[in-house]
């Protein structure tokens, strides 16, 4: 399902710790249009629950959350 979705932009947060990934995610989401999708890469394991909480608080939708070789990849859709 995730692979059929095309991300408009990619945000590299690899090597960064809280609070930077979420602050950068928040800024990047504002930089795409409603309905568009942002890809985010991170290495901080805390980013998994944090991106989920970001969805809960902002309403922007996580379309995919996966891990490969120590890198977490999220697809987040701007909903408003």
């Amino acid at each position: 399902m995730a692979e059929t979705v095309k991300a408009t932009q990619s945000l590299d947060c690899r090597g960064l710790l809280c609070p930077l990934p979420i602050i950068k995610l928040s800024k990047a989401i504002k930089g795409i249009q409603v309905g568009e999708v942002l890809e985010m890469l991170a290495t901080d394991p805390g980013s998994v629950p944090d991106v989920k909480a970001f969805q809960a608080q902002t309403g922007h939708e996580i379309l995919a959350s996966e891990q490969e070789g120590g890198v977490y990849r999220f697809l987040v859709k701007r909903t408003k």
């Binding site: 090597g15 960064l16 710790l17 809280c18 609070p19 930077l20 979420i22 602050i23 995610l25 928040s26 800024k27 970001f54 608080q57 902002t58 309403g59």
Partner: protein, 165 residues
């Protein structure tokens, strides 16, 4: 969100380097989620808004058993407390902590504060602390708003999350 914007009200009461991070990290993160955020800087916490002192926050090894052991493999072997009293030890502990933070790519305090300012976090400077310590508005960064406990409580009364740090 849909419903009303959430609000975070923090009290930052400490002026050491280690204790400067938590309020600024929480504030910048909450603002990134679209929350309204206000921080009341009181007592030594006011140093975080002080133009000059802000750049010279320190952490002391004295009376701080949480300082990490010099040899990670021997966690029970700590630097004896009295060594912390030697000249230069506070500067050394401060340099060490700044090194850990830089290696972990955590922004320095000034940058975290700038993130908060950019995100419209309200920075309340405790009026009583200013009076007691002889600090004037000119000593503080321009975004600091001098306010008393009443102003903060009025702000915090409408908050969803309040924390004292």
């Amino acid at each position: 969100m849909g419903e009303q914007t959430k609000r975070l009200a923090l009290v930052a009461s400490k002026g050491t380097l280690d204790q400067a991070y938590p309020p600024l990290i929480l504030a910048s993160t909450a603002a990134a989620m679209g929350w309204e955020v206000g921080i009341f800087f009181t007592f030594y916490g006011l140093d975080l808004l002080h133009k000059e002192r802000l750049e010279h926050l320190q952490v002391s090894p004295i009376g701080n058993p949480a300082m990490p052991p010099p040899i990670p493999a021997i966690p029970m072997l700590k630097v004896p407390n009295f060594l912390g009293a030697l000249p230069g030890m506070t500067a050394m502990a401060t340099t060490m902590m700044k090194g850990w933070m830089a290696r972990a790519k955590i922004p320095p305090i000034k940058e975290l504060l700038d993130l908060c300012i950019e995100a419209d976090v309200q920075l309340f400077a405790c009026a009583t602390t200013m009076g007691v310590m002889g600090i004037t508005q000119e000593d503080l960064i321009p975004q600091a708003q001098c306010a008393g406990a009443t102003t903060f409580l009025d702000y915090a009364a409408a908050a969803d999350v309040t924390l004292f740090i």
